[in-house]
Symmetry: C2
């Protein structure tokens, strides 16, 4: 149960009416909807992918920008191999689960947990990077918002969280428009750009032509730039994790969707990188590279420019949404294997995994604040977090094919072998050249995995302790001692004592005197014995620091020990009153809650609440 579930009324307004379990199967995604929901992460990467390559190259000066073309080609090759290998994962694992399942089944639990842990963090980064880039797209259009990057990002996160708590298909329905808007307008922009070049309207503007020798550009810089550019491929795995969301035939639909996505992504990424090169665009502080390309092609800040920026911001928001489908799915799988708390297994009222959704949103918001909403600070961590599980799942697939069919496994596993090698290479490049940016990854991962293992161990321990090995004879008690906590003598106490008589063989009324007034104290005692002459009345003083808890605990322990000797059970009955309106609860002393909380630590004492309901 999440706290959020407590607020039923408020929830229904924000989240919508509860949905029945049986309607779960209706909430499946068509290919068109899936492309919107699950591909937006990858597609939206073009909003920052080119920029990340160019920003690294700028270290060697604007003339180095031509290297973005060969680097983009390498990224395309990587994309091609990843799409092929993820198609195979979808076919082999139609149940979803992605890198976590593939790694743990084929390479062992350790590898699985590394993948799972890395991806959990990474989905938070997906959300953080996407909303931050979305904020940058908005600021490129409206520079006046310059200092509100963090606020804009947090606002988008909240919006998406609410949408997701409302359930998966409704989100898709709502989000399908901006994704296709982006696809259409970006396609038009790129084609229009090429058309202008082809018709000679835009002369060659590049800072330096492809092939120009730039002595300042070394291998290290190129590899760094490549590793940054590969951030465009984050999100490619999302579809393989979400196969169960697809309509039947699931695997086939998912594989097709993946291929379509790969084609669109490749075209966009290369197109934008090329146009950027041709137009000779250099990164600016207040305007993203994509926004500059956009402005150049559409000829200024006109209506088309604003539509394109709007579409970019929107698809980035939808991309953040990818994390919101993937993270709860993954944490559900981890919780099913008892590596994460049970609460991540519970579906909310609208069939989404509410606890996963809320955890993700909180994590992403923290990341945005920590990194001041700066995309380029988040990218290195994002990449390492993606390419570690990429490597593991591709390697896992090689093992998978080998186990399935040892003879011609090589043929089937070629895409996976290539994928594993390229992914591993990127991981190595990141470690060698970007350690100052990615070291937190290597601090956080062992902690997460230790927590996973600790949780697993706990659940195993609990199951062991709770198991009834064989039918045990019941223990028959001789009776029950009831301790009734008494304040002043009121109708509440009267009702409580009547109830105590119905369950108790021996009743003790326990009164803690906190009044610092002996007269008041004597009065209570007298009134009590007048009403309940047959019930033992025990008075204990409050401690010198006015605590009523300690004397209660001490007396309860003493009485329960005696009761134990007589083979009695011990019940502590806490009389309390429930006001007729919830807001009135704050008006009353909550010490009953505190007493019950403390007493829960004592064994052999059963805690009972007598609730007296006020009418007015």
């Amino acid at each position: 149960m999440s706290l959020y579930d407590f607020f039923g009324g408020f929830r229904r307004v924000v989240v919508g009416k509860e949905l029945k379990s049986s309607s779960a199967s209706e909430h499946k995604l068509s290919k068109l909807a899936a492309l919107a929901m699950l591909s937006s992460d990858a597609l939206s990467s073009v909003a920052y992918g080119t920029e990340q390559i160019v920003v690294v190259l700028m270290v060697a000066g604007a003339v180095a920008i031509w290297f973005s073309i060969p680097i983009a080609v390498c990224v395309l090759i990587l994309l091609f191999s990843l799409v092929l290998s993820y198609r195979q994962i979808i076919r082999a694992y139609p149940g979803g689960g992605g890198a976590y399942r593939v790694s743990s089944e084929n390479l062992g639990t350790g590898a699985g947990l590394v993948s799972g842990g890395a991806l959990l963090v990474d989905y938070m980064l997906t959300v953080a990077v996407s909303v931050a880039a979305g904020a940058e797209a908005i600021i490129s259009a409206f520079p006046v918002l310059e200092h509100h990057q963090v606020a804009i990002s947090i606002f988008i996160i909240i919006l998406i969280t609410v949408l997701n708590l409302r359930g998966v298909r409704e989100s898709a329905g709502f989000l399908i428009v901006p994704v296709y808007l982006f696809v259409v307008i970006t396609f038009c922009m790129i084609c229009f750009g090429f058309f202008k070049i082809a018709t000679g309207q835009v002369p060659f503007h590049a800072t330096a032509a492809v092939g120009t020798a730039i002595p300042a550009v070394g291998v290290a810089l190129l590899l760094k730039s490549f590793s940054s550019g590969s951030a465009s491929l984050t999100g490619v795995e999302a579809i393989s994790n979400a196969v169960p969301f697809f309509k039947e035939p699931r695997a086939k639909n998912a594989a097709k969707t993946l291929t379509i996505m790969g084609l669109i992504l490749g075209f966009f990424f290369f197109g934008i990188t090329f146009l950027n090169y041709w137009y000779g665009i250099v990164p600016e502080e207040k305007m993203t590279v994509l926004a500059q390309v956009n402005r150049e092609i559409f000829g200024g800040k006109n209506i088309l420019f604003y539509i394109m920026q709007f579409a970019t911001a929107m698809i980035l928001a939808v991309a953040a949404n990818t994390g919101f489908s993937a993270f709860p799915m993954l944490s559900f799988n981890l919780a099913k294997d008892k590596f994460m708390p049970h609460m991540f297994k519970e579906r909310g009222a609208r069939l989404g995994y509410s606890n996963g959704i809320i955890t993700l949103a909180a994590g992403a918001a923290i990341l945005v604040v920590m990194f001041h909403g700066k995309v380029e600070s988040l990218i290195p961590l994002y990449s390492i977090g993606v390419f570690v599980p990429f490597t593991l799942s591709q390697s896992g697939m090689v093992v998978h094919w080998y186990r399935q069919n040892r003879r011609n496994f090589l043929l089937r596993s070629i895409p996976n072998i290539v994928g594993a090698i390229i992914s591993a290479t990127i991981v190595v490049i990141m470690i060698v050249f970007r350690l100052p940016h990615i070291w937190p990854f290597f601090v956080i991962m062992p902690i997460i995995i230790a927590i996973f293992l600790k949780i697993k161990k706990h659940y195993q321990n609990v199951a062991e302790q709770l198991r009834l090995r064989e039918p045990k004879p019941s223990h028959i008690y001789a009776g029950n001692t009831v301790i009734v906590l008494i304040g002043n003598v009121t109708n509440v106490d009267l009702g409580a004592i009547n109830y105590a008589r119905s369950i108790g063989d021996y009743i003790v009324a326990l009164h803690v005197d906190n009044s610092e007034n002996p007269e008041k104290d004597a009065e209570v005692r007298e009134e009590f014995s007048e009403n309940f002459p047959d019930i033992r009345y025990v008075r204990v003083p409050a401690t010198t620091s006015r605590s009523i808890i300690k004397p209660i605990v001490k007396s309860v322990k003493r009485i329960s020990e005696t009761s134990h000797k007589y083979n009695h059970t011990t019940t502590v009955l806490v009389p309390q009153f429930i006001p007729n309106k919830p807001w009135k609860r704050v008006l009353h002393n909550q010490s009953a809650v505190r007493i019950k909380y403390v007493l829960a630590n004592y064994e052999d004492v059963i805690i009972s609440s007598y609730n007296y309901h006020l009418k007015r």
Copy 2:
């Protein structure tokens, strides 16, 4: 109980060891300590008092600054009358309670609640204004911090809150140094300034000499300026509210302290205003008027300048602390009269009223954020909030003297009559000339008073309902029906059923099937009947939206109705297990908590927890 009390361990580190009640009397303030703690609010007002007058006059140009001299004289007269009349309040009400007590006893509950409500808000404003002015003093010294006014203010609030949760005398001990540092350095600065003028080192620089005719200055402007300047007098009432904090003879010590404070305040206020006039200083954006006076007199940004700015910031922080002694005291008094929730009556572990302290800190923080930490935006609200209760308490005192001794009451009540008239005049000036800034006061006050009355009514209602009018005969039940909620059949359930047998005459095991797996369900049933062949087993399906709460509530209601017919009480026994470490609690399904929460709404059902303690 406040949430903060829950976190015992953490609390002890931040707040300190618990203090015994008997040590309360040792925690009394000497005059020296009281001057530090209770006068800092008034004394620190000189940090912004002169500035508030000049800022208003600037509307008519820098030449109008000379009017600050006659206005300061009026403020001094007001100060004189307030000190006299508050000395009388201290003598008449040595129990403390200030404006709230005085108004309600002499003018009726309505006037008392207006005073009380106004002051509650005003103490929040005291804290907000003081920390904001403190932040300005810091920024005047270090202009690089310019954009962090809100952050600095919030930081100071947190610091003071922690100090106050540690208990009243310790705070005073800690805070006495900066107050006297401020008094000494300000005294030196003013004297040095006069000395320089007297020895002719500083020629007459004023923008215009006193008496110069300025046609642009009308009565309205002068009255506005006067009402702003009277903000320097906020805090004068603090001592009269806190008489019980003084060492014996309380009233005498308090009255003396008030007089000393009045003398210091008057000298500082007039001195700074005069020096400001003589030096011809004009308000600046990044530097307070006081900081400019300071810089001029000490001849630049030297070590003395920085000490003075530091002392100013420190005394303003201590001034904020005045609110932290006054607010909890006042809310205690309001809670004693049942106008505020009981929790404001409870002392924390360190003898401070923790809930009052935390409420105040939260309110002040919200005000700082809302008004962007700008002193001049907060001042008008602050003044109206002070002068309304000033007026009411002074009027109340007139009634008080009249009731005591009708014959020569006029003689005694002259200071109060004058005080009441001047205070009322300021209120009228504020309403006429500053309504655009103070209207929120007139929106918030009716709301607060309505809440006060609503709370009072509730407590009266409750007391009425709980009262046992005469000894009532006990109702004797025929027995007890126990409903045990069963999940899987484990050691927990075994223990719970054993307990149920000890209290119950009829036992029902209630199992909600949430497994969506008929085999698992049959297995549970079989295992149960194997272990408990004599106990009735009731299985209900979960709802289609997977809720287990609704079926439980429905079954419990049905069973308890039957049980009622047999004159049985009904107990719902919820078996749960308590992990051996608190952090492990999050790992378990908290549905038990939710079930108990929901069932508490149903009358005639007693809710019992069977806690099974895990060993590992």
